[in-house]
């Protein structure tokens, strides 16, 4: 017997994997041609992509940027490429982009909306990136709404200041009364004091102060507002104001107080049951009927009010979802610590509920922002309204795709970045176990 062993004693050297399994080839095999169905789908998709791109790319890039009218555009196209088809005439954007962005806002005052936008980002910074920006910046965020109104509309500075003073008066009354009597009484009297200030005193205050210390800028009328600026303005106001109202409505809907609850439910369901366009009809036709005879405040403000109410109802439902998703134990925990209702809401419930509802809140934001285009139907010149106006001009009669592409790109950039930001926020605030 020899002791020849037929069992291999040492390992074979590792072989490289087959070329079809690794690298680009392997990736293609696994991701594009893994089965016959997938192969067919891939080929169809490749053809579709080719078809779309072969139309769009030459149209976008073999285009005319400098011309005064569509006819001139076509002449240049004929000269360069021998046909007027399949080439974009971006000259219309080149010619009118300022108007598409700012509407009929006086061109020497463009710095004001731009400054307002930059300051908006500054004011939002402590809210959006709370970990990197000092908390004291929140004071600026509180001042910003009044500053923005002054920047956009101009006029005397005392108007916004007196509006802000209304809040100060209300707060003052609340603190005094709640120390002397009770918190509930304080809230009621505080709100009452603010309302009295705004309705009866503020106009006298404004005119008196304006005649004593006249500080002001050139006033811009609401009907000069338009373009993408109008969409941003309406969106920001509706979103900013609707969040606190939405929280109150959501709490009202969850509350044990029967009458309060049904008032909130009625409001929310009514607003959610009707299309925004009917609310805009209310803003343009009916809101003046609902107010004391003789009041005639401007259309943009009326639209803002209705859009705010509209988004508040949706916001309330989103936040209610967040409240409902909180485990019961959180409420009970807050109770057992002896916190009262508002303390519990502020310290325990709301921080968690708002965090859960971030995706919903942001998608409501995006929805409202997109819905601001509806104001073109009631005759305001937002981007879509301006596009029709530009088309009505003889120079650009018959131009469609370039304008639509530009508008779509504007909205896409803003909405898409908002949705990405919400994803970032969701990841950042994620404290659960994953």
């Amino acid at each position: 017997m020899s002791d020849v062993s037929f069992v291999r004693t040492e390992m074979l050297p590792e072989q490289a994997p087959p070329a079809s399994e690794v690298g680009a080839l392997g990736w293609i095999k696994h991701n594009l041609f893994s089965s016959w169905l997938n192969s067919i789908l891939t080929i169809i998709s490749l053809y579709a992509v080719y078809y779309v791109l072969s139309g769009i790319l030459p149209w976008t890039f073999q285009s005319v940027w400098n011309a005064d009218s569509l006819n001139q555009c076509r002449e240049i196209m004929l000269e360069n490429w021998g046909s007027t088809h399949g080439h974009a005439c971006w000259a219309v954007i080149n010619d009118r982009w300022l108007q598409l962005l700012f509407g009929f806002y006086p061109s020497h005052l463009y710095w004001r909306p731009i400054l307002a936008l930059i300051l908006l980002l500054v004011a939002l910074a402590p809210v959006l990136y709370s970990d990197r920006v000092p908390t004291k910046m929140l004071i600026f965020s509180a001042i910003y709404p009044f500053l923005m109104v002054w920047l956009m509309w101009g006029g005397t500075i005392w108007g916004p200041i007196s509006a802000a003073l209304g809040f100060v008066v209300g707060w003052g009354v609340y603190t005094i009364v709640s120390k002397q009597l009770s918190g509930l009484f304080g809230i009621i009297l505080g709100v009452l004091a603010s309302v009295i200030w705004w309705l009866f005193i503020s106009s006298y205050f404004t005119s008196a102060m304006a005649s004593i210390i006249p500080i002001g800028m050139e006033a811009v009328e609401s009907r000069q507002f338009g373009g993408f600026m109008l969409a941003v303005l309406l969106g920001v106001v509706a979103i900013g104001v609707s969040l606190p109202i939405g929280i109150v409505l959501a709490l009202g809907r969850q509350s044990d107080l029967l009458i309060v609850k049904y008032l909130c439910v009625g409001f929310i369901e009514f607003i959610r049951g009707v299309p925004l366009i009917t609310l805009l009809f209310v803003a343009s036709l009916l809101l003046n009927l609902f107010l004391p005879p003789g009041t005639n405040f401007d259309i943009i403000l009326r639209v803002m009010i209705m859009m705010t109410l509209f988004s508040a109802a949706y916001m309330a439902e989103v936040i209610r979802g967040g409240l409902a998703a909180l485990p019961r134990g959180q409420y009970e925990g807050a109770d057992s610590l002896g916190l009262n209702y508002w303390q519990a809401q502020r310290l325990i419930i709301m921080p968690q509920a708002l965090k859960i509802s971030i995706p919903g809140i942001v998608s409501t934001f995006i929805g409202i922002f997109k819905d601001t285009t509806l104001v073109s139907i009631i005759g305001l010149f937002d981007v879509i309204g301006l596009a029709s106006a530009i088309r009505a001009d003889t120079a650009w009669n018959g131009i469609y795709w370039e304008l639509f592409a530009f508008i779509a790109a504007l909205f896409f950039v803003v909405c898409f970045s908002m949705s990405r930001y919400s994803m970032y926020l969701e990841r950042k605030l994620q404290t659960g176990h994953r």
Binding site: S45, V274, V282, L286
Partner: protein, 422 residues
């Protein structure tokens, strides 16, 4: 030793309304109610004063007056001599038409896209992502206007179909004409039809019910009932003997033979659109406004539905798929029998709100001139009669009713498919 005494009897003091939690809630509610009623009273009194100043008391008599405007896309007969109420009714039907068409298309496209977004084919998944992001992040109004522009500018005019060498031809075996004035599709005609029944006499909501359609639906219902009986019989036999009898050919026969017999008896044929003069005649004419609205709304909503479907499928834990594969189910069956039934319960509630959104967004029809309820009642009727208050309030009421009925129906369905836990 301790003696038990009653707690001191508390007398009601006025301050307890503020400090005692038992009474405070009542105080808050009373104050809220008073505040609300004051607000309502203020608004109503303002409105009355304003309307008096304008000389327009609230009344609905104008609904009986002739509308004197035309509605070009309609389901029922209507002339400009009909009343405003009739016009509003036609508009309401148009709203429902576009809402139903849109919901069906959006669901089909949305489910398809949602499933394809999860496909393991990289290219397909990416294309679907692009589609979803593109449609979700651009306003629906822009899509509607864009669709309208594409239809008007991009499609051939009817006269392109004329002549010996036409630049455009009709599609689908010469039965469908796609022109820039709308799409002409074949209509169903019955040469030996049963006629119509007229409902509601001469009132504003009068309509005709085609007896042919009723007969068809009755036969179809009967066939489906018979099919279910047959498959029940087959299942019983399978339970008893272990063999399932082949029934698919019987099923097909039961479904189609009575239908074909009925259609032959009624003399069913298609009425094709034909080019006559400057335009197509015959067939059913779907105007551009309807097509643009339908297309834009369904593609826009489909993007949202796709996300819902995707989230619903992702919400099912991977173990379910693995368990199904372990049982030997193929991927298609895994999807149909294991994943979808569970995903549906996550999917349906947000789907309801998307159907509602689509219905409400259909009010944007006014931007392309499709005469839905917003275009008739809230558009021309309001402008002609100058009755803003009545028209807008009625318009809101109509939409509220539609929304509440849709959510009621869908909630009923949701409760049926919901997984009953404990």
């Amino acid at each position: 030793m301790t003696t038990l005494t009653d707690p001191p009897k508390e007398h009601f003091r006025l301050s307890m309304l503020l400090y005692d939690t038992r009474y405070r809630s009542a105080t808050i509610q009373v104050i809220a109610l008073i505040g609300f009623m004051l607000l309502a009273a203020w608004i109503i009194s303002n409105t009355i004063q304003n309307l008096e100043a304008l000389g327009k008391p609230v009344e609905f008599g104008f609904f009986g007056e002739p509308a004197s405007y035309d509605i070009n896309q309609r389901l029922l007969e209507y002339t400009s001599r009909d009343s405003h109420l009739r016009a509003a009714f036609i508009g309401l039907l148009n709203t429902l038409v576009v809402a139903v068409l849109g919901c069906i298309t959006a669901t089909i496209v949305g489910v398809l896209v949602g499933v394809l977004r999860l496909s393991n084919n990289w290219l397909v998944a990416r294309i679907m992502t692009v589609y979803v992001e593109m449609f979700r992040n651009v306003p629906v109004l822009l899509w509607i206007v864009l669709a309208m522009a594409i239809l008007i500018e991009g499609l051939p005019a009817p006269n392109a179909f004329r002549g010996d060498n036409p630049t455009a031809t009709m599609d689908l075996f010469n039965s469908v004409a796609v022109t820039n004035r709308g799409v002409y599709i074949p209509e169903f005609l019955f040469s030996r039809g049963l006629g119509d029944i007229h409902l509601f006499g001469a009132s504003s909501i009068r309509f005709n019910v085609s007896l042919d359609l009723v007969a068809f639906l009755v036969v179809l219902g009967g066939s489906i009932f018979a099919m279910r009986k047959i498959s029940g019989w087959a299942a019983a036999k399978q339970e008893a003997t272990g063999d399932r009898p082949t029934i698919w050919h019987i099923q097909l026969g039961v479904l189609f033979v009575p239908m074909i017999i009925l259609l032959t008896v009624l003399g069913f044929h298609l009425g094709y659109p034909e080019l006559k003069g400057f335009n197509f005649k015959g067939g059913t004419h779907m105007r551009n406004s309807l097509i643009a609205l339908w297309l834009a709304l369904s593609l826009y909503t489909a993007a949202f539905i796709a996300e819902i479907v995707r989230a619903g499928i992702l919400a099912i834990s991977k173990g379910q798929t693995e368990a199904a594969s372990a049982l030997g189910l193929r991927p298609g069956r895994t999807m149909r029998l294991v994943i979808l039934p569970q995903a549906l319960r996550v999917i349906i509630p947000p789907m309801i709100s998307n159907y509602l959104n689509l219905t409400k967004n259909s009010s944007l029809a006014i931007a392309v001139g499709y005469m839905d309820i917003t275009g008739t009642l809230g558009g021309i009727t309001m402008n002609q009669t100058g009755r803003e208050l009545e028209c807008v309030l009625l318009l809101m009421l109509v939409y509220l009713c539609i929304s509440l009925s849709i959510s009621a129906v869908m909630n009923w369905y949701n409760n049926r498919v919901k997984l009953v836990e404990r």
